[in-house]
């Protein structure tokens, strides 16, 4: 009997222990610490080692510079798959245990802002300071006229090409933005180079976020978008005539087998694809393929349409649970200032989020990286700013995948429009 009581006591204390722990975490996150030092926590997902090291170094320097006033504790959260980090945020929202400062993926900013889990930062940034960010960072970081979260760096999608294959067919890819290939010119290149187990292009990185990130630009190039500017409706946008034309273009490439819908990630590197839609993150990996001679050209545009390119990155914001918004904003300003932006860009070969950072990144002044800089600072568009983004991106990606394997174009896009509109009306209208 004693044993039984002991056991049940143990079980009870275990359960009590669980709830006790969450309470502790709660008081930590908003904790005052002792004395006047403000203790802050900062969550971000685990990245590559070089990237992680930059943040560790910058936070250490911040703590040094603010000794006796602010101390930041950075918690690196394993990402596992792309939603593990978001799931942790969801859980923290429910239990009010959000950190003071948190990193988030660009398109989630509007969703978090609309759900009131992050606060606007306008009062903490000067006009000049904000203007130093590249336009797409301001676009992805703003919701309903307020600025919520600056990006840590930028990103872009370019068209890589295999120099040997281009030379074989006498093709010279453009190196001036006004000569950027149109879809039809790109199609001709694919048509010429696609034979003997070589695909004309490689453009499927994954069938999730990539689909929205990369291919929304075809809609933008055609003068429309996948939702309206306010983000309140997709009807007449994603399924507009220009949208249908863009999707039909993708379907044509798929029908003629000009790209592989289930490619090996290194198809281009191995010389099995003549071109590749990819980003700066691909460049470090090219080193492992000494036979590969690669070049960069612009994201193709619609004939007579807008020159554009994807953009977007991870950003940092201040949570509503913080007791020290002013100090938390200091951390954000530090981690996204010119020095941080430059160091990060150098470490991970992604374009910087600040115009001033490009001054010291001289490699971006010449080919091939010049093309990335021109796109990032000149023509890029961020993904739609809407609180219903999770539904939009999921449904849009599903529709594009279906279209690439032969589904009816208009029907698939109509389905995206109606699902999105219903979702928006049900959860975000008013």
């Amino acid at each position: 009997m004693k044993k039984g009581i002991l056991l049940s006591l143990l079980a009870l204390s275990l359960l009590a222990g669980c709830s006790g722990e969450t309470k502790n975490a709660n008081s930590n996150s908003g904790g005052q610490g002792d004395g006047s030092v403000v203790e802050l926590t900062f969550w971000r997902p685990q990245a590559s080692e070089v990237e992680d090291n930059v943040y560790v170094k910058r936070i250490e320097e911040f703590n040094q510079a603010n000794k006796g006033k602010i101390h930041v504790k950075m918690e690196v959260i394993t990402r596992g798959n792309s939603f593990a980090y978001e799931d942790k945020i969801n859980a923290a929202v429910a239990s009010h245990t959000l950190p003071d400062v948190l990193a988030m993926d660009g398109p989630n900013i509007a969703n978090y802002a609309a759900s009131e889990i992050i606060i606007p930062l306008d009062e903490y940034f000067s006009k000049e300071d904000l203007d130093d960010f590249v336009p797409s960072i301001l676009q992805q970081g703003s919701y309903q006229g307020k600025f919520y979260a600056p990006g840590l760096n930028e990103s872009s999608v370019v068209l890589f090409y295999n120099k040997k294959i281009m030379a074989e067919h006498g093709i010279t890819p453009p190196d001036k933005i006004e000569n950027a290939w149109t879809w039809d010119e790109w199609y001709d290149v694919m048509k010429k180079t696609s034979k003997d187990g070589v695909f004309g292009t490689n453009m499927i990185n994954d069938k999730g976020e990539w689909m929205t990130y990369a291919f929304e630009q075809l809609w933008i190039s055609g003068g429309t978008d996948i939702v309206n500017k306010e983000g309140t409706t997709a009807e007449g946008f994603v399924n507009s005539p220009q949208g249908v034309e863009a999707a039909e273009f993708l379907q044509k490439l798929a029908n003629e087998k000009l790209f592989n819908i289930d490619p090996k990630p290194t198809e281009f590197e191995e010389g099995k694809a003549a071109t590749k839609l990819g980003g700066p993150w691909n460049i470090p990996g090219f080193k492992n393929y000494p036979d590969l001679e690669w070049g960069i050209t612009y994201f193709p545009k619609k004939a007579g349409g807008t020159q554009t390119a994807p953009s977007g990155s991870w950003a940092v914001g201040v949570s509503v649970d913080t007791k020290h918004p002013k100090e938390a904003a200091e951390v954000i300003k530090w981690i996204t200032n010119k020095d941080s932006s430059t160091q990060l860009a150098q470490a991970i070969s992604m374009p910087a989020s600040r115009k001033s950072a490009f001054e010291s990144l001289t490699e971006y002044n010449e080919l091939p990286l010049r093309i990335i800089k021109e796109q990032v600072t000149g023509v890029s568009h961020a993904r739609p700013v809407t609180p219903a983004y999770p539904v939009l991106t999921q449904k849009f990606a599903e529709a594009l995948t279906d279209i690439m394997v032969g589904a009816d174009v208009k029907k698939s896009l109509d389905n995206v429009a109606s699902t999105y509109d219903e979702e928006y009306k049900r959860n975000f209208a008013e």
Partner: protein, 306 residues
């Protein structure tokens, strides 16, 4: 005097007995307490919460703004084409997988139960997919099913059959997932059948062969009837596993193409965690639960009445 002594003795006996019994009951309860508490906290309570959330609008990111919406979620559910499509896909998968997988498992069990020389090799070969993580297997099969250079297409090519799209076709995707699922899981049921087969006494077979029964007759009149209870068990667990189909479509097709592999479990995950509509996802879960209960009960009734 004697009577009193006897009574006293009896009384004492009774009281020791009842004290001991009470003691045992207490010990018993204290032993089950941790388990019951854990069950209440992690199974009963979440289930009741899911039922309650089913009547609310609940965005995962706005837990403070839950509000009661009555039967709205259920009204939406019964007009949602995707729900019916997912339900249909789930039932289709179950109806095909349960008999096929159990049948294959039985045949494999009969094979490895023989006194073949290599039977241990076979046993290991058929069982190894079961112990491998489904995630790993799903990723492996994505490349086997690759419409361009997948191994299966290369094999078909050898027989003069043109490339098949498999997971990229709305008419083939679900069947491709079924084929792979049967291959992966049949080894598990094989082991259960094997245990059943080894429990059948050899004497019966000997007696029947003296009576002149051939192998086929032995299978028909001895093996299969003797395996009745095992079969009921296998069918039940296979059904419950089948209706929960999630990992394969989640990894291999994400429910596509054209929702042809969207299952109820996948729909719940998508609504609840990706779209953060926890209220609506809870409503689907409740309906899903009722369907599973219905299937389990009718199976039990059907199999027992036989």
């Amino acid at each position: 005097m004697m009577q009193t002594a006897m009574n006293a003795h009896k009384r004492e006996h009774i009281s020791t007995f009842s004290r001991q019994k009470r003691r045992e009951t207490l010990v018993g309860y204290s032993f089950v307490t941790p388990a019951v508490l854990l069950l209440i906290f992690f199974l009963v309570l979440p289930f009741l919460l899911a039922v309650a959330f089913g009547f609310t609008k609940f965005n995962l990111l706005r837990p403070d703004k839950i509000h009661f919406t009555g039967l709205d979620n259920y009204k939406l559910l019964f007009t949602d084409g995707l729900f019916y499509k997912s339900l249909w896909n789930t039932l289709y998968f179950t109806v095909i997988v349960v008999p096929v997988q159990s049948g294959v498992a039985l045949m494999l069990a009969l094979l490895v139960n023989n006194s073949l020389k290599l039977r241990n090799v076979f046993r290991i070969a058929y069982f190894s997919p079961v112990v491998t993580s489904m995630t790993v297997i799903a990723i492996l099969w994505i490349s086997l099913y690759n419409p361009n250079e997948g191994l299966i297409n290369s094999a078909l090519h050898f027989f003069g059959i043109s490339n098949q799209p498999f997971l990229r076709s709305s008419s083939q995707a679900m069947n491709s997932i079924i084929f792979m699922s049967v291959w992966q899981a049949a080894g598990y049921q094989m082991m259960i059948f094997l245990a059943g087969l080894q429990g059948i006494s050899k004497d019966i077979y000997e007696a029947s062969s003296i009576d002149g029964a051939n192998k086929l007759q032995q299978l028909r009149y001895i093996t299969i009837p003797s395996l009745y209870n095992v079969t009921v068990f296998v069918l039940t667990i296979t059904t419950i596993q089948a209706v929960k189909l999630f990992v394969q479509p989640y990894i291999m097709t994400n429910g596509g193409p054209e929702n042809s592999t969207r299952t109820l479990a996948l729909l719940i995950y998508q609504q609840g965690f990706q779209f953060r509509n926890a209220g609506y996802a809870s409503a689907i879960s409740v309906i899903f639960f009722l369907i599973v209960v219905l299937i389990s009960f009718s199976m039990k009734k059907f199999l027992r009445d036989k």
